[in-house]
C-alpha cells in the first residue's frame, strides 16, 4: 500500500491544535506505520513538498507569509483540512479585526497601550507583513474538510484521519469552541 504523505501546518494560531495532535500519544506510532510526515512544525522541513496527500492546517491567515504558504499548500496537496477554529473562523487570531486595519491595530498595541517609548517597530524585511484582515483559510483558498474546535480534541483528529485513511468522507458533526 502507498504510504500517506501527511503535512501539518502552523499558520496564525497558538499551536494548540498541534498539541491536541500530539495528545494522540502512542497512536502516532501507529500512524507512522502508514504515513510519512513530510512537513510539520515538529519536523525540520523548510520547504512545503509537492504531491502531499493530506495537509492539516492550523491557524488563520494573518500575514503575507501565511498567504503565500496557503496557496502553495493548495497547489501541492490533494486534501486540505482546516484544523481548529482559527483556520475555520479566524477565531482568536481574528480578534484584532474589529480594531480596523493593520495601521489601527499597531497604533492600538504599540502607541495607545504600548511601551513608554511608544513607537511602532519597523520590521520590514525581517518579520512577515501583517494583512489588513485576518482571514479564515477558506477565504483564501478552497478547503476540502473543516474540523473546528479550540482545539479539536485528539479523538476527533484521530477520527478524521482514520476516516480519510479508510477512503471515506467524514460526516461526523462538528462543534465550534
Amino acid at each position: 500500500m502507498e504510504r500517506l504523505k501527511l503535512a501539518t501546518v502552523w499558520l496564525g494560531g497558538c499551536s494548540g491544535c498541534h498539541m491536541s495532535l500530539l495528545d494522540l500519544d502512542e497512536w502516532l506510532l501507529e500512524l507512522a506505520t502508514v504515513a510519512d510526515l513530510v512537513y510539520s512544525p515538529i519536523s525540520d522541513v523548510k520547504i512545503f513538498p509537492s504531491d502531499v496527500d493530506l495537509a492539516l492546517v492550523e491557524g488563520a491567515v494573518a500575514n503575507d507569509e501565511h498567504l503565500e504558504l496557503a496557496h502553495t499548500i493548495r497547489r501541492q496537496t490533494k486534501t486540505v483540512v482546516a484544523l481548529g477554529d482559527c483556520a475555520v473562523t479566524g477565531n482568536v487570531t481574528a480578534l484584532r479585526n474589529p480594531l480596523g486595519s493593520v495601521r489601527d491595530v499597531l497604533q492600538e498595541v504599540y502607541i495607545n497601550h504600548g511601551s513608554p517609548r511608544a513607537v511602532v517597530p519597523d520590521t520590514s524585511g525581517i518579520v512577515p507583513v501583517l494583512l489588513d484582515r485576518v482571514l479564515p483559510l477558506h477565504a483564501v483558498v478552497p478547503v476540502d474538510i473543516f474540523l473546528p474546535g479550540c482545539p479539536p480534541s485528539a479523538a476527533r483528529i484521530k477520527g478524521l484521519i482514520e476516516t480519510l485513511l479508510a477512503g471515506k468522507v467524514p460526516t461526523e458533526p462538528v462543534r465550534f469552541g
Binding site: 473562523t89 477565504a139 458533526p173 465550534f176
Partner: protein, 235 residues
C-alpha cells in the same frame, strides 16, 4: 377545546386547536430549530429558523406563528429548509464577533448548538467584524454586544415576565442594538430590578453574570497569605 389532525413530515399528528405548528411538532417529537422562541414568551417570528413548508402556501411560514389547522400538511426538514437554516446561522456568525473559544457561554450556548444542529462546518460569508461595546456598568450583570443576536428574548422576558421593560431595541439594520432604558448604561437604568431574567433568557453569552469572564477574575491573595503567616507565627 377541539383537536386538529395534521401531517408533519408524512406523520399524522394530533394537536389542540389554536396550537402553533411548533408546539404540535414538539409534542410529536419532531425538532424544529428555533432561536427567538422561548417557552413562555410571546412569539415574534424574527429568527426565521423555524420556517416550514406548508402545502398550499407559496411562502415559507414560521412554525412558531402558524396555527395548526385540520388536514394541514407540513414539511419541516426539506433540503431547501436545511440549506436556508444553515445559511441563516452562518449569517449570524458573520454578523458580530462570535468567538466560542473566549466566550463565557461556550458549551451551553443556543447559537453554538444551532451551528451543530444545522451542520454548519464553516461560514461562507465575509465576517463583518464590527466594533461592539461591552457594558459592565451594572453591578451584577454585563452585556457584550459582540455576542448579541438580537433575538429580543431579553426584551420580552423583561417586559412580559418581569413587567418592567428595561430592555428594548435602538437603531436599525445591523446597527440595531439592545438598549437599557433610554439608551443609558445598564448600571444607570433606574427601571432595572436586577432580577436577572434577561440573563436567563439570553441564548448566547451576550448577557453574562459579572465575574465570569477571564478579565474580571478577582484574586484575593489575602487569605492564603494569612494562612501562611499564621503557620510561620506558630512555628
Amino acid at each position: 377545546m377541539s383537536a386538529r389532525t395534521l401531517t408533519i413530515n408524512q406523520t399524522l399528528v394530533s394537536a389542540r386547536e389554536g396550537e402553533s405548528v411548533l408546539e404540535a411538532a414538539r409534542d410529536a417529537g419532531i425538532t424544529i430549530p428555533t432561536l427567538c422562541h422561548l417557552d413562555g414568551l410571546s412569539e415574534v417570528g424574527a429568527c426565521r429558523l423555524c420556517l416550514v413548508e406548508v402545502a398550499g402556501s407559496s411562502r415559507l411560514l414560521p412554525a412558531c406563528r402558524t396555527t395548526v389547522s385540520e388536514g394541514m400538511q407540513v414539511q419541516t426538514d426539506t433540503p431547501r429548509l436545511q440549506e436556508y437554516r444553515r445559511a441563516i446561522v452562518e449569517l449570524l456568525f458573520a454578523e458580530r464577533n462570535h468567538v466560542c473559544a473566549v466566550c463565557v457561554a461556550s458549551g451551553h450556548c443556543d447559537l453554538q448548538d444551532l451551528a451543530l444542529h444545522v451542520g454548519m462546518t464553516h461560514v461562507r460569508y465575509e465576517y463583518l467584524a464590527p466594533s461592539c461595546a461591552v457594558d459592565t456598568s451594572h453591578p451584577r450583570f454585563g452585556i457584550d454586544h459582540n455576542r448579541c443576536v438580537l433575538c429580543t428574548r431579553c426584551v420580552r422576558a423583561c417586559d412580559e415576565v418581569e413587567g418592567v421593560h428595561t430592555w428594548d431595541i435602538a437603531g436599525r439594520g445591523v446597527a440595531a442594538r439592545v438598549i437599557t432604558d433610554l439608551n443609558v448604561p445598564w448600571g444607570e437604568a433606574t427601571s432595572c430590578t436586577s432580577c436577572g431574567k434577561c440573563l436567563l433568557a439570553c441564548p448566547t453569552g451576550a448577557i453574562f453574570p459579572r465575574g465570569s469572564t477571564v478579565a474580571e477574575v478577582q484574586r484575593d491573595h489575602s487569605s492564603i497569605t494569612r494562612i501562611m503567616t499564621a503557620r510561620g507565627e506558630r512555628w
